[in-house]
Symmetry: C2
Amino acid sequence: MNQFREHIEAIVPLTDAEFELIYSHFSVRKYKKHQFLIQEGEPVKYAYFIVSGLVKLVYADALGKQHIVSFAMEDWWESDFGAYYTQSKAAMSLICIEDTEVLCLAFDDYHKLCATFHKMEHFFLMKSNFGHVGAQQRILSLLTTNAKERYAQLLKKSPALFQRVSKTMLAAYLGVSRETLSRLSA
Amino acid sequence: MNQFREHIEAIVPLTDAEFELIYSHFSVRKYKKHQFLIQEGEPVKYAYFIVSGLVKLVYADALGKQHIVSFAMEDWWESDFGAYYTQSKAAMSLICIEDTEVLCLAFDDYHKLCATFHKMEHFFLMKSNFGHVGAQQRILSLLTTNAKERYAQLLKKSPALFQRVSKTMLAAYLGVSRETLSRLSA
DNA sequence: ATTACAGTGTGATGTAAATCACAGAAACCT
DNA sequence: AGGTTTCTGTGATTTACATCACACTGTAAT
């Protein structure tokens, strides 16, 4: 909770009263490894702030092959935002890689927060802007580099991930086969 | 200008006075085909709203090969947002494919707009959210499909593009070589 | 403890797409 | 109009990577 407050205050300062009111829009939930926060085909009720743990956002293609759109860990926000913003069915699943604790924000609470606190709208704008830029960098990485370079880039950018997720999952994130990834690290 | 107002009012309604004040934060500029709106390595002063015309956001890799991060046409916003938000040097170039008219928004005017008009902050939040989702879909497309499918997807999603840009550029956008693209369409 | 399964490495083979190379067609100067 | 540059198609060759197949390990489940 303090961690959450600091996370917000890194962008917008808050009074105690403001924080209390903001915090009251969230609910705490805990999940075990392998549990689903979002299941493909189901409505997406919440966006999640990860307090602790690690999750993956997974898309299963027509052949059932799993692709990892993103990982999210402590202090990250995650959801199937496409479905969340349009309040439609999930195209992807959000699954725990470790036991995970989250703060859940329902869609209308998101709007209430934005409408009530100019600061929070600003906060979310900053987050969204930088999320957008991050996604664009991933596109660039996929367009410009081969598997080996992408592996090196990720190792440099998120060394923590390598301790916490299997190589199989890293491969699904990098868009390479498991076998190729195995041969790369050598 | 009416077009611009409608573009904003599709998300947030405005009074005449509000629109006037908002509009005064922008400056109009016209560029010819082949001109640069943003040059790699230079500071990024503006985000652009495209009134008419067509531009490409291009990244040149270490070998000088050109990759197209995105196209932007009428009613789109474009910039090297990574550099714009952090007010640093451009990593990419923004180049006209056709004669283009834009509305320029300087970075501090962007902040002023957001600070002054809650509505505009909301407007930008919506734009950023959907931009983020769009980028994520592009990532998914790059992860899950081969060149042929990506070509088919783009043809379905943006048929207008095919009338206005060369196949060479389409290839640079799809992440395929010019030659391979040529063989695909057959 | 024994089974079961996810994770990993490594060889052999197949394939999509890159690269190299050339030529004709279209668009653009001045 | 004539020359330059860009765009495009098509063949031949090469390469990065996927796929298939198998074996070994560590971890979790009963």
